[in-house]
Symmetry: C2
Subunit: 472 residues, 2 copies
């Protein structure tokens, strides 16, 4: 909540001792503006009445020390673009909003390493880095809203994991404030470091349950000199898998993304976001492949050879190559708006699975059959309107959407734990890149045994206390 | 120690209760064969009298449960190729040798993931994977000896970190036996996983102080279809840095290694390993650049363009390109034997630093000046014979060698903590990829603040108890 909001009289500054007066603390007699108390798709609703907006690490430290002493629970929020409810304060926890910690502290232009505060919006940070010849190695649909601290805290994978890998590899250092207010300086900026236990790794994906990530040192990737996209239209899911094998062979070192979505996803983006479909005609499946290289002529030759192979093996019904920057941007926006379009079309239940790609389409079929058998899908008056999948073939990561007419227990009741068992029995994971938040914890046993170290870092359980990750 | 050794009567099988009889347990009245009690360069000497060679995870579990109950300390050893003394049992700890756990448990040929037991020798594993079209994404000079469990436990960086990144990114899962014998199954094999704290990360680089890594799931990289090397001869260290910037521009996505060494390193390999120098004439500095791509003609064009730029800017005095597989192998062996050649030339003290490349040559100059000023270098009868540097420019990782005529306290006395202070004051780390072992712990404060979690995992302090990492 900004100062402008508070000047409308809805909120008042309530200085909490020992937080200095200049600190932003927003308090509402009922609860905070809904933008902070409802998740991006309206599924998780919180009731926090107090939000704190620190500007410095020291202020975060003071807030946590204060809360820890008084056993006041704290939920950290970045861009509030998460789909798992991890940044929503369900009870009356204090919301620690990182928005005002948005400075770039340091850039090493030779080694390509940036130290950025947690509240830097990913898109802002990436555009800034591009001016210096680099890109941030993580990218996701919510890039205009999500913040780098949240990306780290959810271990975001995103669109180009295939090329640039996980945050466990690209994050070189972190600054973390522990629940008792101590600042853990793990802000290492060199690439190789074997000088002690790699503690920072525990905070990558911990969803704010062990401490607050206040700054991130991340290894940037060089900005590619050449880039192109191709969108393919296909009839058969099996052909996508074969196309992926050929893409890795033909496009080798220049491939940077391999995404797919099914027909219904395409329709939803056209209908609810009013974007033009990348392909003129409708296809059962679309595949989006991006290459990033250093010399366009070579990349074009590789792409041509790849498309020839696809045609030889009769894998595709349609293809369109994009090389103009604006056109490529439009195709990416089309892909990135997929989740939002689903959200606008109804009440969305999102599942985010790691699942071997050979099982991904079977999942869609199985879910539709299951919901039909349970009597909640398939008729005009069924509670569930749509079931769709899209995702990242290169990383075995699939997003399953079940769109209901209204939120309520029925979808969860029918889907869970059935779907977790289905995924678990096929060597999948029930949480790939969206984090655990509120909705998956009790089913973790289906994909992974775990030991909690929550107790060690947060003995008073004040940090994001009701989320499932800390109970896994 | 093999059964063949024990049949010579030097060792006897002593079954430890409750370890099953068929388990290999080797015991010596004095101490074990020196190959297990001396590190690869003869600097660290141990006195373990008992070695256990488990064949299964269950046997590791039984051994640790037994030892934990009786407070018997355990040092885990893989290929014993480490340079930090981390795998040497200084007192009479039990040596847990992982050599016989060398099976490949599973390979997913579609997603490119292998599950290998800790005792797989890196070179064996890599050759096996190459037959399936993949490579192991970590590679280092000791590839014929080191084992994948040791690579994980030291968080090995190696020669191609520049291309394939760190083990924190490429290791997908681990199986770990905890000190009390519990088996922690974190053997996840999919790429994206956000289902709980990423506990496996703590064991990557923990040097066997928190538990024993028994199996590793690692994401393989596709085997490149084309590869080439170029060796450059240069006069001036500053020109290496400029060459690196140009290489990243011209060779972009195909660059896979950028190594350098100085003249004296070249001489030592020729003198002690009897390999032919890659370049006919001697140069102050040599640079080795490798490219790996999917289409040789494109790679050749990129290399030609790169070499033209180097010549235009008058950066190099000499260059030789290698494209024949056997020739390339010989060049790599030349580079990989560098540490061994140093070891043969005298009593080697190795330092392994992360240091911004602009400071790397200054380090060599400063060390020579310091040792000269202290009166132990520069004269025919000085205790120190040679001081050299070589390393990985792309990762800011440098190896500093101080070769003395004999081991003894003088080199450490003069070098430490002076050199750690020098590196720390230039934002370096005193341990890049060799691990901490015995020789760096007390100086950790110069590069990183740390908190120990040793107590939580190993309350009885039986796992590799005297090494510095657990006290950082």
């Amino acid at each position: 909540m900004s100062e402008a909001d508070s000047s409308r009289g809805k909120c008042a500054h309530i200085p909490l001792n020992p937080v200095p007066r200049q600190q932003h603390v927003v308090h509402s007699e009922t609860k905070l503006d809904s933008q902070y108390n409802i998740d991006v798709f309206g599924k998780y609703r919180g009731s926090s009445k107090v939000m704190v907006l620190p500007k410095t690490t020291e202020q975060v430290s003071q807030v946590l020390a204060h809360c820890n002493k008084r056993r006041i629970s704290v939920v950290t929020q970045g861009g509030n673009s998460g789909t798992g409810g991890g940044a929503i304060a369900e009870r009356d926890e204090v919301l620690l909003c990182m928005r005002d910690m948005n400075k770039v502290r340091d850039i090493d232009e030779v080694s390509g390493v940036v130290v950025a505060e947690a509240g830097c919006v990913l898109d802002d940070l990436d555009r800034h880095m591009q001016q210096l010849g680099y890109i941030v190695p993580v990218d996701l649909g919510s890039r205009n809203k999500c913040m780098i601290g949240g990306n780290v805290s959810t271990s975001a994978g995103g669109l180009r994991y295939l090329r640039y890998g996980s945050m466990h590899g690209t994050v070189l250092g972190l600054e973390v404030v522990l629940p008792d207010g101590r600042v853990l300086d793990l802000l290492f900026t060199l690439k190789k470091d074997a000088s002690g236990y790699d503690l920072k790794q525990l905070f990558i994906g911990a969803e704010g349950t062990l401490g607050v990530v206040t700054a991130v040192a991340i290894a940037l990737a060089p900005k590619p000199a050449s880039s192109q996209l191709v969108v393919l239209g296909l009839t058969d899911f099996c052909k996508i898998q074969r196309a992926f094998v050929l893409a890795r062979q033909s496009l080798g070192e220049i491939i940077s993304a391999f995404e797919f979505w099914e027909k219904r996803c395409n329709e939803l983006v056209v209908e609810y976001e009013h974007y033009e479909s990348p392909l003129e005609t409708a296809h059962e499946f679309c595949v989006l492949i991006e290459t990033r290289g250093s010399y366009m002529q070579h990349d074009v030759e590789k792409m041509d050879a790849f498309l020839d192979k696809l045609r030889e093996e009769r894998l595709i019904d349609d293809s369109k190559v994009f090389r103009d920057a604006d056109e490529m941007e439009r195709v990416w926006v089309f892909r990135q708006q997929m989740a939002t379009a689903h959200g606008k079309s109804g009440c969305m239940h999102v599942y985010d699975f790691s699942l071997p790609s050979k099982h991904q389409h079977d999942l869609l079929v199985a879910v539709k059959e299951h919901l039909t058998a349970e009597g909640i899908y398939g008729q005009a008056d069924s509670p569930v309107k749509d079931v769709t999948i899209f995702g990242h073939i290169g990383d075995d990561n699939i997003h399953l959407q079940v769109i209901a007419k209204e939120f309520g227990g029925i979808v969860e009741e029918v889907m869970e734990p059935w779907v977790y068992e289905w995924v678990g029995s096929r060597q999948g994971s029930v949480a790939a890149e969206h984090g655990l938040g509120k909705h998956k914890g009790e089913f973790l046993k289906y994909s992974k045994s775990a030991t909690t170290i929550k107790q060690q870092f947060d003995p008073n359980n004040i940090m994001n206390p009701d989320k499932h990750i800390s109970r896994a």
